[in-house]
Amino acid sequence: MREITFAEATLEAMAEEMERDPRVFVMGEDIARQGGIFGQFKGLPQKFGYDRVRDTPISETTIVGSGVGAALAGMRPVVDMHFVDFVGIAMDEIYNQMAKVRYMFGGQATVPVVLRAPDGITQSAAAQHSQSLEAWFLHVPGLKVVIPSNPADAKGLLKSAIRDDNPVLYFENKVLYRQKGPVPEDEYLTPIGQANVVKEGKDVTIVSYSITLQKCIEAAKRLEQEGINVEVIDLRTIVPMDKETIYNSVKKTKHLVIAHEAVKTGGVGAEIAAAVAEDVIEYLDGPIMRLGGKFTPIPFSPALEKIWPPSVEDIYSAVKQII
Protein backbone atom coordinates (compact mmCIF):
# COMPACT_ATOMS: atom_id res chain seq x y z
CA MET A 1 0.00 0.00 0.00
CA ARG A 2 1.17 3.57 -0.60
CA GLU A 3 2.60 5.38 2.36
CA ILE A 4 1.80 8.97 3.24
CA THR A 5 2.40 11.07 6.32
CA PHE A 6 -0.06 11.61 9.09
CA ALA A 7 -0.35 15.27 8.07
CA GLU A 8 -1.06 14.28 4.48
CA ALA A 9 -3.64 11.78 5.67
CA THR A 10 -5.52 14.50 7.53
CA LEU A 11 -5.25 16.68 4.44
CA GLU A 12 -6.85 14.00 2.31
CA ALA A 13 -9.62 13.56 4.82
CA MET A 14 -10.31 17.28 4.81
CA ALA A 15 -10.24 17.53 1.03
CA GLU A 16 -12.51 14.55 0.50
CA GLU A 17 -15.05 15.73 3.03
CA MET A 18 -14.99 19.31 1.78
CA GLU A 19 -15.48 18.00 -1.72
CA ARG A 20 -18.34 15.80 -0.64
CA ASP A 21 -20.23 18.30 1.50
CA PRO A 22 -20.31 22.04 0.84
CA ARG A 23 -21.30 22.64 4.44
CA VAL A 24 -17.86 21.61 5.63
CA PHE A 25 -15.42 24.46 6.20
CA VAL A 26 -12.41 25.03 8.39
CA MET A 27 -11.11 27.94 10.42
CA GLY A 28 -8.22 28.62 12.71
CA GLU A 29 -5.11 30.69 13.16
CA ASP A 30 -2.52 30.65 10.39
CA ILE A 31 -4.06 27.76 8.52
CA ALA A 32 -4.75 29.31 5.12
CA ARG A 33 -1.83 31.50 4.13
CA GLN A 34 0.81 29.08 5.23
CA GLY A 35 -1.07 25.80 5.42
CA GLY A 36 -0.83 25.32 9.17
CA ILE A 37 2.34 25.17 11.28
CA PHE A 38 2.64 21.48 10.56
CA GLY A 39 1.57 21.68 6.94
CA GLN A 40 -1.68 20.00 7.84
CA PHE A 41 -3.81 22.43 5.82
CA LYS A 42 -1.51 22.93 2.86
CA GLY A 43 -3.25 23.48 -0.45
CA LEU A 44 -6.76 23.50 0.94
CA PRO A 45 -7.46 27.18 0.26
CA GLN A 46 -6.22 26.75 -3.30
CA LYS A 47 -8.80 23.98 -3.74
CA PHE A 48 -11.69 25.35 -1.76
CA GLY A 49 -11.09 29.07 -1.51
CA TYR A 50 -10.29 31.34 1.38
CA ASP A 51 -13.93 31.44 2.37
CA ARG A 52 -13.97 27.81 3.35
CA VAL A 53 -10.42 27.80 4.70
CA ARG A 54 -10.29 30.77 6.98
CA ASP A 55 -7.48 32.43 8.85
CA THR A 56 -9.00 33.75 12.06
CA PRO A 57 -8.04 36.44 14.51
CA ILE A 58 -6.24 35.20 17.65
CA SER A 59 -9.53 34.62 19.41
CA GLU A 60 -9.71 31.01 20.50
CA THR A 61 -12.86 31.51 22.52
CA THR A 62 -14.75 32.88 19.58
CA ILE A 63 -13.19 30.48 17.09
CA VAL A 64 -14.71 27.60 18.99
CA GLY A 65 -17.89 29.43 19.96
CA SER A 66 -18.56 30.56 16.42
CA GLY A 67 -17.92 27.00 15.29
CA VAL A 68 -20.74 25.96 17.57
CA GLY A 69 -22.92 28.73 16.21
CA ALA A 70 -22.22 27.83 12.60
CA ALA A 71 -23.02 24.20 13.41
CA LEU A 72 -26.30 25.18 15.04
CA ALA A 73 -27.08 27.14 11.88
CA GLY A 74 -26.58 24.14 9.64
CA MET A 75 -22.91 24.14 8.70
CA ARG A 76 -20.29 21.52 9.55
CA PRO A 77 -17.30 23.48 10.81
CA VAL A 78 -13.88 22.14 11.56
CA VAL A 79 -12.08 24.43 13.97
CA ASP A 80 -8.38 24.30 14.61
CA MET A 81 -6.87 25.03 18.02
CA HIS A 82 -3.34 25.64 16.73
CA PHE A 83 -1.93 23.93 19.85
CA VAL A 84 -4.05 21.94 22.28
CA ASP A 85 -2.43 24.04 24.96
CA PHE A 86 -4.86 26.83 24.06
CA VAL A 87 -7.96 24.69 24.35
CA GLY A 88 -8.54 26.07 27.82
CA ILE A 89 -9.13 29.50 26.34
CA ALA A 90 -12.23 28.00 24.75
CA MET A 91 -12.99 25.62 27.60
CA ASP A 92 -16.30 27.21 28.49
CA GLU A 93 -17.41 27.07 24.88
CA ILE A 94 -16.56 23.39 24.83
CA TYR A 95 -18.17 22.09 27.99
CA ASN A 96 -20.92 24.64 28.55
CA GLN A 97 -22.00 25.14 24.95
CA MET A 98 -20.70 22.60 22.44
CA ALA A 99 -21.26 19.60 24.71
CA LYS A 100 -24.48 20.73 26.33
CA VAL A 101 -26.69 22.54 23.84
CA ARG A 102 -28.19 19.43 22.32
CA TYR A 103 -29.15 17.92 25.65
CA MET A 104 -30.11 21.18 27.31
CA PHE A 105 -32.41 22.09 24.43
CA GLY A 106 -34.07 18.69 24.46
CA GLY A 107 -32.58 17.48 21.20
CA GLN A 108 -33.50 20.52 19.11
CA ALA A 109 -29.87 21.21 18.29
CA THR A 110 -27.33 19.17 16.42
CA VAL A 111 -23.74 20.28 16.76
CA PRO A 112 -21.66 18.74 13.96
CA VAL A 113 -18.45 20.50 14.82
CA VAL A 114 -14.95 19.02 14.86
CA LEU A 115 -12.28 20.58 17.03
CA ARG A 116 -8.76 19.68 15.91
CA ALA A 117 -5.96 20.08 18.40
CA PRO A 118 -2.28 19.29 17.85
CA ASP A 119 -0.73 18.02 21.06
CA GLY A 120 2.33 16.44 22.59
CA ILE A 121 5.94 17.15 23.31
CA THR A 122 8.33 18.13 20.57
CA GLN A 123 11.62 19.94 20.50
CA SER A 124 11.51 21.92 23.69
CA ALA A 125 8.33 23.77 22.95
CA ALA A 126 8.06 23.99 26.76
CA ALA A 127 5.26 24.16 29.29
CA GLN A 128 2.65 25.97 27.22
CA HIS A 129 3.18 24.29 23.85
CA SER A 130 3.71 20.63 24.68
CA GLN A 131 0.74 19.38 26.63
CA SER A 132 -1.66 16.51 26.11
CA LEU A 133 -5.03 17.44 27.56
CA GLU A 134 -7.49 14.85 26.32
CA ALA A 135 -8.36 13.54 29.79
CA TRP A 136 -10.45 16.53 30.80
CA PHE A 137 -12.95 15.74 28.09
CA LEU A 138 -13.71 12.26 29.40
CA HIS A 139 -15.51 14.11 32.13
CA VAL A 140 -17.71 16.15 29.77
CA PRO A 141 -20.85 14.31 28.68
CA GLY A 142 -21.94 15.25 25.16
CA LEU A 143 -18.60 15.13 23.38
CA LYS A 144 -16.88 12.45 21.39
CA VAL A 145 -13.09 12.32 21.61
CA VAL A 146 -10.74 10.64 19.14
CA ILE A 147 -6.96 10.42 19.14
CA PRO A 148 -5.36 8.54 16.24
CA SER A 149 -1.91 6.97 16.37
CA ASN A 150 -1.11 6.52 12.66
CA PRO A 151 -1.86 7.99 9.23
CA ALA A 152 -4.57 5.49 8.30
CA ASP A 153 -6.55 6.09 11.46
CA ALA A 154 -5.87 9.80 11.24
CA LYS A 155 -7.65 9.90 7.91
CA GLY A 156 -10.44 7.49 8.74
CA LEU A 157 -11.23 9.02 12.09
CA LEU A 158 -11.15 12.58 10.78
CA LYS A 159 -13.62 11.68 8.05
CA SER A 160 -15.86 9.98 10.59
CA ALA A 161 -15.57 12.96 12.90
CA ILE A 162 -16.60 15.37 10.15
CA ARG A 163 -19.61 13.23 9.26
CA ASP A 164 -20.66 12.79 12.86
CA ASP A 165 -23.61 14.89 13.93
CA ASN A 166 -22.15 15.21 17.40
CA PRO A 167 -19.27 17.41 18.46
CA VAL A 168 -15.97 15.57 18.13
CA LEU A 169 -12.61 16.56 19.57
CA TYR A 170 -9.77 15.32 17.41
CA PHE A 171 -6.33 15.22 19.05
CA GLU A 172 -3.40 14.91 16.67
CA ASN A 173 0.13 14.49 17.86
CA LYS A 174 2.77 16.88 16.60
CA VAL A 175 5.48 14.25 16.24
CA LEU A 176 3.14 11.91 14.39
CA TYR A 177 2.47 14.51 11.69
CA ARG A 178 5.76 13.78 9.96
CA GLN A 179 5.54 10.00 10.19
CA LYS A 180 4.56 7.92 7.19
CA GLY A 181 2.30 4.91 7.14
CA PRO A 182 0.16 2.89 4.77
CA VAL A 183 -3.13 4.54 3.87
CA PRO A 184 -5.63 2.93 1.49
CA GLU A 185 -6.34 4.85 -1.69
CA ASP A 186 -10.00 3.92 -1.71
CA GLU A 187 -12.34 5.81 0.50
CA TYR A 188 -12.93 4.41 3.98
CA LEU A 189 -14.09 5.52 7.39
CA THR A 190 -12.62 4.48 10.70
CA PRO A 191 -15.50 4.09 13.11
CA ILE A 192 -15.49 6.22 16.24
CA GLY A 193 -15.65 4.14 19.40
CA GLN A 194 -13.65 1.09 18.33
CA ALA A 195 -10.30 0.29 19.82
CA ASN A 196 -7.75 -1.56 17.73
CA VAL A 197 -5.88 -4.62 18.90
CA VAL A 198 -2.56 -3.77 17.30
CA LYS A 199 -0.85 -6.92 18.45
CA GLU A 200 -2.36 -9.98 20.07
CA GLY A 201 -0.81 -11.56 23.11
CA LYS A 202 -1.73 -13.62 26.10
CA ASP A 203 0.44 -12.53 29.04
CA VAL A 204 -0.25 -8.85 29.51
CA THR A 205 -2.38 -6.12 28.00
CA ILE A 206 -0.96 -2.69 27.28
CA VAL A 207 -3.51 -0.01 26.47
CA SER A 208 -2.29 3.17 24.88
CA TYR A 209 -2.98 5.67 22.11
CA SER A 210 -1.41 8.40 20.00
CA ILE A 211 2.38 8.76 20.05
CA THR A 212 2.86 6.62 23.13
CA LEU A 213 1.52 3.58 21.33
CA GLN A 214 4.82 3.35 19.51
CA LYS A 215 6.73 3.17 22.74
CA CYS A 216 4.42 0.40 23.87
CA ILE A 217 5.08 -1.57 20.70
CA GLU A 218 8.80 -1.05 21.23
CA ALA A 219 8.52 -2.27 24.81
CA ALA A 220 6.40 -5.22 23.66
CA LYS A 221 9.13 -6.24 21.24
CA ARG A 222 11.69 -6.30 23.99
CA LEU A 223 9.35 -8.23 26.24
CA GLU A 224 8.66 -10.79 23.52
CA GLN A 225 12.37 -11.48 23.37
CA GLU A 226 12.11 -12.47 26.99
CA GLY A 227 9.14 -14.67 26.26
CA ILE A 228 6.48 -12.31 27.52
CA ASN A 229 3.61 -12.26 25.08
CA VAL A 230 2.09 -8.78 24.99
CA GLU A 231 -1.28 -7.67 23.69
CA VAL A 232 -1.21 -4.03 22.61
CA ILE A 233 -4.42 -2.07 22.27
CA ASP A 234 -4.68 1.26 20.51
CA LEU A 235 -7.63 3.01 22.09
CA ARG A 236 -8.18 5.33 19.08
CA THR A 237 -11.31 6.78 20.68
CA ILE A 238 -11.50 8.00 24.24
CA VAL A 239 -15.21 8.84 24.26
CA PRO A 240 -17.13 6.62 23.77
CA MET A 241 -14.55 4.26 25.17
CA ASP A 242 -14.41 0.73 23.82
CA LYS A 243 -14.34 -0.97 27.18
CA GLU A 244 -15.36 -4.31 25.68
CA THR A 245 -12.08 -4.66 23.84
CA ILE A 246 -10.10 -3.76 26.94
CA TYR A 247 -12.12 -6.08 29.16
CA ASN A 248 -11.84 -9.00 26.76
CA SER A 249 -8.12 -8.54 26.61
CA VAL A 250 -7.75 -8.29 30.39
CA LYS A 251 -9.87 -11.38 30.84
CA LYS A 252 -7.37 -13.18 28.68
CA THR A 253 -4.06 -11.75 29.88
CA LYS A 254 -4.97 -10.96 33.50
CA HIS A 255 -2.45 -8.12 33.50
CA LEU A 256 -2.91 -4.51 32.55
CA VAL A 257 -0.59 -1.62 31.86
CA ILE A 258 -1.80 1.71 30.55
CA ALA A 259 0.47 4.35 29.05
CA HIS A 260 0.00 7.84 27.69
CA GLU A 261 2.03 10.99 27.43
CA ALA A 262 -0.44 13.17 29.36
CA VAL A 263 0.19 13.67 33.08
CA LYS A 264 -0.46 10.38 34.85
CA THR A 265 -2.57 11.76 37.69
CA GLY A 266 -6.13 12.27 36.54
CA GLY A 267 -5.28 11.04 33.06
CA VAL A 268 -7.19 8.73 30.76
CA GLY A 269 -5.32 5.87 32.38
CA ALA A 270 -7.14 6.57 35.62
CA GLU A 271 -10.51 6.05 33.98
CA ILE A 272 -9.41 2.86 32.27
CA ALA A 273 -7.91 1.46 35.45
CA ALA A 274 -10.95 2.41 37.48
CA ALA A 275 -13.35 0.88 34.97
CA VAL A 276 -11.38 -2.35 34.96
CA ALA A 277 -11.17 -2.35 38.75
CA GLU A 278 -14.92 -1.94 38.89
CA ASP A 279 -16.07 -4.30 36.19
CA VAL A 280 -13.53 -7.09 35.71
CA ILE A 281 -11.20 -6.93 38.69
CA GLU A 282 -11.74 -10.63 39.38
CA TYR A 283 -9.75 -11.47 36.27
CA LEU A 284 -6.72 -9.50 37.32
CA ASP A 285 -3.62 -11.20 38.54
CA GLY A 286 -1.68 -8.19 39.75
CA PRO A 287 -1.78 -4.41 40.00
CA ILE A 288 -2.84 -2.18 37.16
CA MET A 289 0.16 -0.11 36.20
CA ARG A 290 -0.28 3.37 34.82
CA LEU A 291 2.37 5.35 33.00
CA GLY A 292 2.05 8.97 32.13
CA GLY A 293 3.82 12.28 32.19
CA LYS A 294 5.37 13.44 35.44
CA PHE A 295 3.44 15.59 37.85
CA THR A 296 5.06 18.85 36.75
CA PRO A 297 4.61 21.27 33.86
CA ILE A 298 6.69 20.20 30.89
CA PRO A 299 10.19 21.62 31.28
CA PHE A 300 11.97 23.42 28.46
CA SER A 301 15.49 22.08 28.74
CA PRO A 302 16.10 19.09 26.49
CA ALA A 303 17.83 17.46 29.45
CA LEU A 304 14.59 17.48 31.40
CA GLU A 305 12.08 17.34 28.59
CA LYS A 306 13.32 13.99 27.42
CA ILE A 307 12.72 12.36 30.80
CA TRP A 308 9.30 13.86 31.36
CA PRO A 309 7.10 11.45 29.43
CA PRO A 310 7.07 7.70 30.03
CA SER A 311 9.84 5.93 28.12
CA VAL A 312 10.01 2.54 26.47
CA GLU A 313 12.09 1.50 29.45
CA ASP A 314 9.37 2.66 31.87
CA ILE A 315 6.74 0.65 30.03
CA TYR A 316 8.98 -2.36 29.85
CA SER A 317 9.71 -2.15 33.58
CA ALA A 318 6.07 -1.73 34.49
CA VAL A 319 5.22 -4.94 32.69
CA LYS A 320 8.12 -6.76 34.30
CA GLN A 321 6.98 -5.56 37.67
CA ILE A 322 3.59 -7.21 37.44
CA ILE A 323 4.44 -10.35 35.52
Binding site: T62, A71, A73, M75, D165
Partner: protein
Amino acid sequence: MNSIDKELLIKMYMNMVKIRRFEEKANELFLNGEIPGFVHLYIGEEAIATGVMFNLNTDDYITSTHRGHGHTISKGAELKPMMAEIMGKKTGYCHGKGGSMHIADFKVGMLGANGVVGGGFAIATGAALAAKLRGSKQVAVCFFGDGASNRGTFHESLNMASAWRLPVIFVCENNQYASTTPYRTTTSVENIADRAIGYSIPGVVANGNDVFDVYEVAKAAVERAREGGGPTLIEAKTYRIKGHFVGDPEMYRTKEEVNEHFENDDPIKNFKSQVLRRGELTDEEMDDIDKRVADEIKEAVEYGRKSPYPEPEEIYDDLYV
Protein backbone atom coordinates in the same frame (compact mmCIF):
# COMPACT_ATOMS: atom_id res chain seq x y z
CA MET B 1 -42.94 56.28 11.61
CA ASN B 2 -44.03 55.76 8.04
CA SER B 3 -42.65 52.25 7.91
CA ILE B 4 -45.05 51.08 10.61
CA ASP B 5 -48.56 50.30 9.47
CA LYS B 6 -51.47 49.55 11.70
CA GLU B 7 -51.11 45.82 11.46
CA LEU B 8 -47.57 46.07 12.70
CA LEU B 9 -48.61 48.43 15.48
CA ILE B 10 -51.09 45.88 16.66
CA LYS B 11 -48.54 43.12 16.50
CA MET B 12 -46.03 45.18 18.42
CA TYR B 13 -48.48 46.05 21.11
CA MET B 14 -49.65 42.48 21.37
CA ASN B 15 -46.11 41.22 21.61
CA MET B 16 -45.15 43.61 24.37
CA VAL B 17 -48.25 42.83 26.37
CA LYS B 18 -47.69 39.12 25.87
CA ILE B 19 -44.21 39.42 27.31
CA ARG B 20 -45.39 41.55 30.22
CA ARG B 21 -48.23 39.19 31.14
CA PHE B 22 -46.09 36.11 30.65
CA GLU B 23 -43.47 37.52 32.98
CA GLU B 24 -45.97 38.63 35.58
CA LYS B 25 -47.37 35.14 35.52
CA ALA B 26 -43.94 33.56 35.70
CA ASN B 27 -43.21 35.72 38.73
CA GLU B 28 -46.40 34.58 40.40
CA LEU B 29 -45.87 30.92 39.57
CA PHE B 30 -42.30 31.03 40.78
CA LEU B 31 -43.29 32.53 44.12
CA ASN B 32 -46.00 29.89 44.24
CA GLY B 33 -43.45 27.11 43.86
CA GLU B 34 -44.67 26.06 40.41
CA ILE B 35 -41.55 27.15 38.55
CA PRO B 36 -38.18 25.89 39.76
CA GLY B 37 -34.70 27.23 39.05
CA PHE B 38 -33.71 30.81 38.38
CA VAL B 39 -36.15 33.15 36.65
CA HIS B 40 -34.96 36.50 35.30
CA LEU B 41 -37.83 38.71 34.19
CA TYR B 42 -37.85 40.90 31.09
CA ILE B 43 -40.38 43.34 32.52
CA GLY B 44 -39.65 46.89 31.43
CA GLU B 45 -37.45 45.80 28.55
CA GLU B 46 -40.21 44.60 26.21
CA ALA B 47 -39.65 47.33 23.64
CA ILE B 48 -36.21 46.02 22.79
CA ALA B 49 -36.97 42.45 21.78
CA THR B 50 -40.15 43.68 20.12
CA GLY B 51 -38.58 46.52 18.17
CA VAL B 52 -35.72 44.39 16.96
CA MET B 53 -37.64 41.27 16.14
CA PHE B 54 -40.23 42.76 13.84
CA ASN B 55 -37.35 43.41 11.49
CA LEU B 56 -36.48 39.74 11.30
CA ASN B 57 -37.75 36.76 9.34
CA THR B 58 -38.47 33.40 10.88
CA ASP B 59 -35.32 31.94 9.39
CA ASP B 60 -33.12 34.66 10.84
CA TYR B 61 -31.26 33.68 13.99
CA ILE B 62 -31.12 35.07 17.47
CA THR B 63 -29.14 34.22 20.54
CA SER B 64 -30.52 35.15 23.89
CA THR B 65 -29.48 35.46 27.53
CA HIS B 66 -30.47 34.28 30.98
CA ARG B 67 -33.26 36.87 30.64
CA GLY B 68 -34.68 35.23 27.57
CA HIS B 69 -38.46 34.95 27.72
CA GLY B 70 -39.01 38.22 25.90
CA HIS B 71 -36.67 37.29 23.06
CA THR B 72 -38.24 33.88 22.74
CA ILE B 73 -41.78 35.19 22.55
CA SER B 74 -40.80 37.92 20.12
CA LYS B 75 -39.06 35.52 17.77
CA GLY B 76 -42.32 33.62 17.43
CA ALA B 77 -42.24 30.84 19.99
CA GLU B 78 -45.49 29.57 21.45
CA LEU B 79 -46.46 30.23 25.01
CA LYS B 80 -47.62 26.73 25.85
CA PRO B 81 -44.36 24.86 25.38
CA MET B 82 -42.55 27.86 26.87
CA MET B 83 -44.61 27.73 30.03
CA ALA B 84 -44.31 23.95 30.17
CA GLU B 85 -40.55 24.24 29.82
CA ILE B 86 -40.03 26.70 32.59
CA MET B 87 -42.20 24.49 34.80
CA GLY B 88 -39.88 21.57 34.01
CA LYS B 89 -42.45 19.58 32.07
CA LYS B 90 -42.00 17.00 29.39
CA THR B 91 -44.06 18.98 26.87
CA GLY B 92 -41.73 21.96 27.12
CA TYR B 93 -39.54 23.12 24.27
CA CYS B 94 -36.59 21.26 25.80
CA HIS B 95 -38.62 18.44 27.36
CA GLY B 96 -37.90 19.97 30.72
CA LYS B 97 -34.15 19.67 30.37
CA GLY B 98 -33.51 23.38 29.92
CA GLY B 99 -35.86 25.56 31.94
CA SER B 100 -36.01 29.33 31.91
CA MET B 101 -32.27 29.86 31.49
CA HIS B 102 -32.09 27.45 28.56
CA ILE B 103 -35.26 28.06 26.66
CA ALA B 104 -34.91 27.62 22.89
CA ASP B 105 -37.04 27.21 19.81
CA PHE B 106 -34.89 26.25 16.87
CA LYS B 107 -37.90 26.12 14.53
CA VAL B 108 -38.12 29.90 14.67
CA GLY B 109 -34.38 30.51 14.70
CA MET B 110 -34.19 31.06 18.45
CA LEU B 111 -30.84 29.38 19.16
CA GLY B 112 -31.22 29.43 22.87
CA ALA B 113 -31.12 31.37 26.07
CA ASN B 114 -27.82 30.99 27.83
CA GLY B 115 -26.86 30.62 31.45
CA VAL B 116 -23.37 31.83 30.65
CA VAL B 117 -23.37 35.61 30.47
CA GLY B 118 -21.72 36.53 27.19
CA GLY B 119 -22.08 33.00 25.86
CA GLY B 120 -24.17 34.15 22.92
CA PHE B 121 -21.70 36.43 21.16
CA ALA B 122 -19.73 33.73 19.43
CA ILE B 123 -22.76 31.61 18.68
CA ALA B 124 -24.47 34.49 16.91
CA THR B 125 -21.25 35.29 15.09
CA GLY B 126 -21.04 31.69 13.94
CA ALA B 127 -24.65 31.65 12.81
CA ALA B 128 -23.96 34.79 10.79
CA LEU B 129 -20.88 33.13 9.32
CA ALA B 130 -23.05 30.19 8.29
CA ALA B 131 -25.46 32.57 6.57
CA LYS B 132 -22.64 34.33 4.81
CA LEU B 133 -20.98 31.12 3.64
CA ARG B 134 -24.31 29.93 2.24
CA GLY B 135 -25.12 33.33 0.79
CA SER B 136 -28.56 32.90 2.27
CA LYS B 137 -29.18 36.53 3.28
CA GLN B 138 -30.15 35.46 6.76
CA VAL B 139 -29.01 37.63 9.64
CA ALA B 140 -28.24 36.84 13.24
CA VAL B 141 -29.00 39.00 16.26
CA CYS B 142 -27.17 38.65 19.53
CA PHE B 143 -28.92 40.07 22.59
CA PHE B 144 -26.76 40.76 25.61
CA GLY B 145 -26.64 42.85 28.76
CA ASP B 146 -24.49 45.75 29.85
CA GLY B 147 -22.69 43.38 32.19
CA ALA B 148 -22.01 40.97 29.36
CA SER B 149 -20.34 43.74 27.39
CA ASN B 150 -17.32 43.31 29.67
CA ARG B 151 -16.77 39.68 28.76
CA GLY B 152 -13.87 38.94 26.41
CA THR B 153 -16.30 37.24 24.06
CA PHE B 154 -17.85 40.61 23.26
CA HIS B 155 -14.54 41.87 21.95
CA GLU B 156 -13.53 38.77 20.06
CA SER B 157 -16.89 38.41 18.38
CA LEU B 158 -17.26 42.02 17.37
CA ASN B 159 -13.77 41.99 15.94
CA MET B 160 -14.29 38.78 14.01
CA ALA B 161 -17.71 39.82 12.78
CA SER B 162 -16.34 43.11 11.52
CA ALA B 163 -13.15 41.68 10.00
CA TRP B 164 -15.31 39.21 8.10
CA ARG B 165 -18.26 41.57 7.53
CA LEU B 166 -20.72 39.11 8.95
CA PRO B 167 -24.47 39.76 8.96
CA VAL B 168 -24.86 40.02 12.70
CA ILE B 169 -26.39 42.70 14.90
CA PHE B 170 -25.23 42.99 18.48
CA VAL B 171 -27.99 44.40 20.67
CA CYS B 172 -26.95 45.51 24.12
CA GLU B 173 -29.81 45.80 26.57
CA ASN B 174 -28.33 48.29 28.96
CA ASN B 175 -30.66 48.01 31.93
CA GLN B 176 -28.19 49.81 34.20
CA TYR B 177 -27.38 46.77 36.33
CA ALA B 178 -25.46 43.57 36.12
CA SER B 179 -27.05 41.65 38.90
CA THR B 180 -26.24 43.76 41.99
CA THR B 181 -23.66 45.91 40.25
CA PRO B 182 -24.52 49.34 38.84
CA TYR B 183 -23.43 49.69 35.25
CA ARG B 184 -20.82 52.41 35.58
CA THR B 185 -18.99 50.89 38.52
CA THR B 186 -17.59 48.07 36.40
CA THR B 187 -18.10 49.25 32.82
CA SER B 188 -15.55 51.78 31.75
CA VAL B 189 -17.51 53.69 29.14
CA GLU B 190 -20.57 55.90 29.19
CA ASN B 191 -22.12 54.46 26.03
CA ILE B 192 -21.43 50.85 25.25
CA ALA B 193 -22.29 51.80 21.68
CA ASP B 194 -19.03 53.78 21.61
CA ARG B 195 -17.12 50.53 21.75
CA ALA B 196 -18.12 50.05 18.11
CA ILE B 197 -15.33 52.42 17.13
CA GLY B 198 -12.81 49.79 18.16
CA TYR B 199 -14.16 47.55 15.43
CA SER B 200 -14.88 50.09 12.70
CA ILE B 201 -18.59 49.37 12.79
CA PRO B 202 -21.57 51.63 13.46
CA GLY B 203 -22.51 52.00 17.11
CA VAL B 204 -25.97 53.40 17.75
CA VAL B 205 -27.80 54.28 20.94
CA ALA B 206 -31.52 53.61 20.96
CA ASN B 207 -34.14 54.47 23.54
CA GLY B 208 -34.85 51.02 24.81
CA ASN B 209 -38.10 52.13 26.34
CA ASP B 210 -39.48 53.27 22.99
CA VAL B 211 -40.34 50.46 20.64
CA PHE B 212 -40.45 52.83 17.68
CA ASP B 213 -36.95 54.04 18.21
CA VAL B 214 -35.64 50.52 18.65
CA TYR B 215 -37.53 49.41 15.56
CA GLU B 216 -36.02 52.10 13.36
CA VAL B 217 -32.50 51.66 14.63
CA ALA B 218 -32.72 47.91 14.23
CA LYS B 219 -34.24 48.25 10.79
CA ALA B 220 -31.21 50.10 9.50
CA ALA B 221 -28.85 47.61 11.09
CA VAL B 222 -30.70 44.60 9.72
CA GLU B 223 -30.82 46.07 6.24
CA ARG B 224 -27.15 46.84 6.37
CA ALA B 225 -26.33 43.33 7.51
CA ARG B 226 -28.56 41.70 4.90
CA GLU B 227 -26.96 43.73 2.16
CA GLY B 228 -23.48 42.65 3.14
CA GLY B 229 -22.57 45.77 5.07
CA GLY B 230 -21.50 43.84 8.15
CA PRO B 231 -22.31 44.14 11.82
CA THR B 232 -23.80 46.94 13.88
CA LEU B 233 -23.64 47.47 17.62
CA ILE B 234 -26.88 48.78 19.07
CA GLU B 235 -27.17 49.90 22.65
CA ALA B 236 -30.75 50.08 23.83
CA LYS B 237 -30.88 52.02 27.07
CA THR B 238 -33.47 50.83 29.51
CA TYR B 239 -33.87 50.00 33.17
CA ARG B 240 -34.44 46.77 35.00
CA ILE B 241 -37.65 47.38 36.91
CA LYS B 242 -37.68 44.05 38.69
CA GLY B 243 -35.05 42.32 40.77
CA HIS B 244 -32.23 40.56 38.97
CA PHE B 245 -34.10 37.31 39.46
CA VAL B 246 -37.35 36.51 41.16
CA GLY B 247 -36.53 36.56 44.85
CA ASP B 248 -33.73 39.14 44.60
CA PRO B 249 -33.64 41.10 47.91
CA GLU B 250 -32.47 44.15 45.91
CA MET B 251 -30.28 45.59 48.61
CA TYR B 252 -28.21 47.48 46.09
CA ARG B 253 -30.73 50.16 45.12
CA THR B 254 -33.53 52.21 46.56
CA LYS B 255 -37.24 51.80 46.03
CA GLU B 256 -37.36 55.44 44.91
CA GLU B 257 -34.94 54.83 42.10
CA VAL B 258 -37.00 51.90 40.87
CA ASN B 259 -40.30 53.74 41.17
CA GLU B 260 -39.07 56.71 39.24
CA HIS B 261 -38.13 54.49 36.32
CA PHE B 262 -41.34 52.56 36.59
CA GLU B 263 -43.28 55.80 36.31
CA ASN B 264 -41.38 57.29 33.42
CA ASP B 265 -39.88 54.52 31.39
CA ASP B 266 -42.48 51.82 31.00
CA PRO B 267 -42.32 50.89 27.31
CA ILE B 268 -45.94 49.77 27.20
CA LYS B 269 -47.19 53.01 28.73
CA ASN B 270 -44.93 54.86 26.30
CA PHE B 271 -46.38 52.99 23.38
CA LYS B 272 -49.94 53.57 24.45
CA SER B 273 -49.56 57.26 24.96
CA GLN B 274 -47.85 57.65 21.59
CA VAL B 275 -50.40 55.71 19.54
CA LEU B 276 -53.31 57.31 21.35
CA ARG B 277 -51.88 60.76 20.83
CA ARG B 278 -51.29 60.06 17.18
CA GLY B 279 -54.70 58.40 16.88
CA GLU B 280 -53.18 55.22 15.49
CA LEU B 281 -54.84 52.79 17.87
CA THR B 282 -57.78 53.21 20.23
CA ASP B 283 -58.13 52.17 23.85
CA GLU B 284 -60.74 49.66 22.78
CA GLU B 285 -58.46 48.05 20.25
CA MET B 286 -55.76 47.69 22.86
CA ASP B 287 -58.16 46.42 25.52
CA ASP B 288 -59.23 43.79 23.08
CA ILE B 289 -55.64 42.69 22.60
CA ASP B 290 -55.15 42.66 26.36
CA LYS B 291 -58.02 40.21 26.64
CA ARG B 292 -56.72 37.92 23.93
CA VAL B 293 -53.33 37.87 25.57
CA ALA B 294 -54.84 37.15 28.96
CA ASP B 295 -56.62 34.14 27.49
CA GLU B 296 -53.47 32.89 25.83
CA ILE B 297 -51.51 33.14 29.06
CA LYS B 298 -54.25 31.31 30.90
CA GLU B 299 -54.19 28.49 28.40
CA ALA B 300 -50.42 28.29 28.59
CA VAL B 301 -50.51 28.02 32.37
CA GLU B 302 -53.16 25.31 32.20
CA TYR B 303 -51.18 23.47 29.59
CA GLY B 304 -48.07 23.66 31.70
CA ARG B 305 -49.85 22.56 34.83
CA LYS B 306 -51.56 19.62 33.16
CA SER B 307 -48.39 18.44 31.47
CA PRO B 308 -46.47 15.58 33.03
CA TYR B 309 -42.91 15.73 34.28
CA PRO B 310 -40.38 13.77 32.25
CA GLU B 311 -39.98 10.10 33.15
CA PRO B 312 -36.73 9.03 34.84
CA GLU B 313 -35.60 7.03 31.80
CA GLU B 314 -35.69 10.19 29.68
CA ILE B 315 -32.65 11.46 31.56
CA TYR B 316 -30.40 9.84 28.96
CA ASP B 317 -32.33 11.07 25.92
CA ASP B 318 -30.93 13.64 23.53
CA LEU B 319 -27.34 13.50 24.70
CA TYR B 320 -26.01 12.27 21.37
CA VAL B 321 -27.70 12.20 17.98
